[in-house]
Symmetry: none
Subunit: 213 residues, 4 copies
Amino acid sequence: MSTPAPEEGTRRGRGRRPADEVRADVLHTVGELLLAEGLADLTFERIARASGASKTTLYKWWPSKGTLALDAYVHAVEPTLAFPDTGDIRADLLTQLRAFVHVMTETRGGHVLTELIGESQADADLAAAYRKLYSSHRRRLAEERLQRAQEVGQISASIDVRVLIDQLWGAVYHRLLIPDEPVTDDFVVALVTNLLDGIGPRPGLTPAAGTER
Amino acid sequence: MSTPAPEEGTRRGRGRRPADEVRADVLHTVGELLLAEGLADLTFERIARASGASKTTLYKWWPSKGTLALDAYVHAVEPTLAFPDTGDIRADLLTQLRAFVHVMTETRGGHVLTELIGESQADADLAAAYRKLYSSHRRRLAEERLQRAQEVGQISASIDVRVLIDQLWGAVYHRLLIPDEPVTDDFVVALVTNLLDGIGPRPGLTPAAGTER
Amino acid sequence: MSTPAPEEGTRRGRGRRPADEVRADVLHTVGELLLAEGLADLTFERIARASGASKTTLYKWWPSKGTLALDAYVHAVEPTLAFPDTGDIRADLLTQLRAFVHVMTETRGGHVLTELIGESQADADLAAAYRKLYSSHRRRLAEERLQRAQEVGQISASIDVRVLIDQLWGAVYHRLLIPDEPVTDDFVVALVTNLLDGIGPRPGLTPAAGTER
Amino acid sequence: MSTPAPEEGTRRGRGRRPADEVRADVLHTVGELLLAEGLADLTFERIARASGASKTTLYKWWPSKGTLALDAYVHAVEPTLAFPDTGDIRADLLTQLRAFVHVMTETRGGHVLTELIGESQADADLAAAYRKLYSSHRRRLAEERLQRAQEVGQISASIDVRVLIDQLWGAVYHRLLIPDEPVTDDFVVALVTNLLDGIGPRPGLTPAAGTER
DNA sequence: AACTAATCGAGACGGTACGTCTCGTCTTGGC
DNA sequence: GCCAAGACGAGACGTACCGTCTCGATTAGTT
């Protein structure tokens, strides 16, 4: 009989619980709070109350509410956006950008993500974690796809493909974070067209002109 | 004889002061606090102590610390970036973007601005004020310059020039807000080149070769 | 109509309340908590919850829970023990000591007082307040009565009456604070008798002996 | 060789140690902490860190920090005050009281003792342990000496000598615990004189005079 | 000599209180 | 009337300690 007899009741007591169990509880709770109320109303105090974990434990693992929220977002909320490769870079960029825009504008996770970016402006820990856990990974996926397009000649060899990421996804983030203009499908199409074709007057279409350079 | 002599020091007492004087004191104080410590450590409480205004007065004029900070930023900090028009859109975009990047990366005001954008993700009042006082104005200036370029044929007529703003300045904001990659001069040059020339293989320049390499 | 219409409910809001009203609420609440549960279980947190005052307010006025408890004890609990003067110092001491012992052993205030003395061993603020608000006052009353007895020849002129206070009330406190022996009426009687008559062999009763000096 | 070489340092590891060794370490550590910082800043947490024992072990042997502190005080700090017997009770009381006062006012152990008495007002375990380990023992020593004085006629047979202990040592504790008045040598002398000789007018010495002055 | 059972250290856990800070509301008392 | 000064209720902050517990490592008694 290695099991100690639990004399009276199933009272859990205050002692230690397995760390993984606690972590899972916390991340699940924070995920729900984030989707329900956003990052602004999230506090360590409420997380502790709602998750059953103590503040001590929360502070032990996460340096700020932002890093905790990011952790919960990545583990519980984030839909992993696949990056297609059909061989046609124009079509694949459109597909991926449309999927990204859909998540950011039609799901509650989109607002959480912009709040995390906002919070990271004042929280260096969060900024570092965000880059490590999220953005650099996404950036690398895009970079790899663009490099393959470059290798097969769909993108000029002289181009630094990393800049394209800022001119495509970065442009979308710009309209999400500073919403002077809406994020429409026309906008997404224009992003890709402008870059692939250029915005100068069509060379060959106006043979006599040749304004540039 | 029981009245304490008020002659020592500039101790102001509690009576009413002209509204404009108070406003000016507050905005000046907040401007200094912003540059010295950023938006994160700014509070109504500290502003009241440092400026001599009472919290009552602050709440009467500004709904949140973000809107107050923005007000101070616009009135006291922001260097107004002129938008050049030499007739050459490529050169003018480079000039403007370089000036913008300089302010954002080399002055302390740059960090304040990204903090304001961050704060606005959780403060609807600030988001609205930011668009009204700052971004829509800047956007219109750029839009007008781009439209003039379009009218003289430097930009194809089929282009929605508002999208270009997101692909130029928006791309810079992207690297400022999510600093996976640095904001270099090469980056700025690439932004303009990519858009004006397009990133696809150069059509017509190498008729026999086809795709590069 | 100077009265603002209280639109919905009688919700008090969060604004300022008159200081005296708050103080009275707090002292009343602490008085009840003290008598019900003693000083050990008293915390600022519970006082704030029970009294409706905020912790900020409590810390503004009282440096520690001990000083607050003492304040409440003096204002709300302490029965002022009169000091009789019938002309007979032996009888008056007995009367006063018996009243004192009654309060300390038969009422709940007695335990509060010993807890306050205990707490004051580790709280210099409380120790100072205790002397200022309580013990030095009580001491002076006793001292005055004893001096009058000295002036009418009931106590020898060579005696420092302040020492007597320690040998009477101090002896009682000793049995209250370190309860090896009970505080009985016989004990009280013996305190007075021992001092007034001395404990040496009775001079005059054994004319031939004269052991001492 | 996966076993780490244990030769460097005296790093103990986590295995079981002899109980007596652990107890001695703990009591030694607590004794030092007590003298250095007093009882107020003593916690189980710090004792565990400083002594190398785990909290589990501490809680197994001592129910509260007070009882542990008392244990350490008695075993490590307390100078055993001898009780002299020269045959002259007046001289012996003075000797013992002076030695006692010296320890209480001139050594750091004095403050520890008053803190222990203070703590015992809110800790029944400590109060019981204090009586058992310390005060009742000291009381018995004094009682025995006083009884011998009574047997040889230096103290009247009708006196309950236990009361004298409260009127001598208790009076000193009173001034230590509630320091309205200082504990001077005059005070100590007066304690003994007042009791042995009484404080009333000297009977038989000035038969014609009556009351003084 | 190997095995078992106890007991140790280390320290995470759920709680609770600490003392401080800021929020947004409200009262008081000059001006 | 409007203002400063700042007290107020509310509640989050990050830390410390409480007393309970899990986990391995080590050792003392049994086999």
